[in-house]
Symmetry: C2
Subunit: 221 residues, 2 copies
DNA sequence: TGCATATTGTAACATATGTTACATTTTATC
DNA sequence: GATAAAATGTAACATATGTTACAATATGCA
């Protein structure tokens, strides 16, 4: 069980205690070879999966059969903790072995027992899904700005904080456009108009905010 | 405690049992008048708040100080369950009383004790934040499709799965439009065009997929 | 320095979506 | 069933963004 030390789900729990917990609940371990599919998208999510060794990836399959990588999950981390409970207890992605991996599989019932045996484990689990919900919430705030100028304003005011009025953009226009999910010339045009309207001044990678109130208004729409 | 029957956090728990739980942990109740601010955005989230009576709203404050209503939360429901744990334990919104309200306030420690006293309560809580994470996850998926038709295609093919070819939409056009982050008439138009192009056939809440390949193509763009 | 390459600015035009307004249909309530 | 309320269909028009193409800079490298 030493592999579980360092796993965020077992943070703050003494290794001896971890041993003790696992002596009292049912679980399985299984080894997968490279590129083997560990779990399919839409499979019922009845078990907590933990990467003990190696790296797995989550990938989406679109309907034409193409796959899109979503994220890599290395040991020692759990997989899809937000789908073991809740209304839709199904995996949203395929889980595939990037390397040879060893996975631990703990049934939901065992997990609940573990929650009641050890409040650290419970808090760690709660922290994990809560953090995820918080992160997604932030991301949505960003994505749901409709206009390009709104996204720019959000980015600028966010990275500005309270002090100062200049930001160094360390990304190319193209990468910014990708981040926003817009076309590069459209981004250039939007920034050009903001300069024209004296909201900002741009010099190479340096952006100076001239009119905070104006930027705020762009975020409303 | 009868007000808690019907509260999703206490689903499946016998009223007597609820009494018993609350006899063993610390909590407070407080009454707020109309338009009184119950909690401020960025306040540390140290307590589980439950609306016992009345309706509260969450509202965001933008940089210029204007407020934007986010959602109404009527009794008997908890508030901001996803912010009691996790990395950023701060309220993202102001909580304001829409009507005269009575709120229950349970410290995080008490909540954890309650988790360990009653596994229904624990599962209900887990279900609630998990469902929220799942909902946000789904929303992001839709937001990142550029075109409305793409979003529709994604929704249809997703809820279709492998078998059958008809879906019952249990949401109003408006709520779908909100989910997609588009305007309602735009959604109606897009669906109309898809019907015209013989990709789908719509009859009230029932949608029949006529051309899967065509829907796939809409998702590529 | 000179050259090649990448990045950025700009323009004209096409298109998707938003906005507003109203008619029509469905649903709920008495 | 009658009525009001909600949801939906549709149209005309405004606007933001995408697309394509090319010129103007900036950047890296020999």
């Amino acid at each position: 069980m030493e592999e579980l030390v360092g796993n965020p789900l077992f943070k703050g729990i003494h290794p001896k205690k971890i041993e003790e917990i696992f002596s009292k609940v049912f679980y399985q371990e299984k080894v997968y070879e490279i590129e083997e599919i560990i779990a399919h998208s839409d499979d019922d999510c009845e078990n907590l999966l933990i990467v003990m060794e190696g790296i797995v990836r989550g990938e989406m399959i679109d309907f034409s059969g193409k796959t899109i990588k979503i994220e890599d999950i290395p040991a020692p981390n759990p997989v899809a903790t937000a789908f073991l409970f809740g209304q839709r207890r199904k995996l949203p992605v395929n889980i595939v072995a990037n390397t040879k991996v060893r996975m631990m599989r703990i049934p939901r019932d065992s997990v609940i027992k573990m929650f009641q045996m050890n409040s650290y484990f419970l808090e760690n689990y709660l922290n994990m899904i809560s953090s995820r919900a918080q992160f997604l919430s932030m991301k949505i705030k960003f994505l749901s700005f409709k206009t390009i100028k709104g996204k720019i304003a959000q980015l600028l005011l966010d990275s500005l904080g309270s002090g100062g009025d200049t930001i160094i953009l360390n990304r190319s226009q193209q990468s910014l456009a990708d981040l926003f999910g817009v076309a590069r010339p459209s981004l250039a045009r939007a920034m050009g108009e903001m300069v024209r309207d004296k909201l900002i001044r741009v010099e190479r990678k340096e952006v100076k905010v001239l009119n905070r109130k104006g930027l705020n208004q762009l975020m409303q729409a």
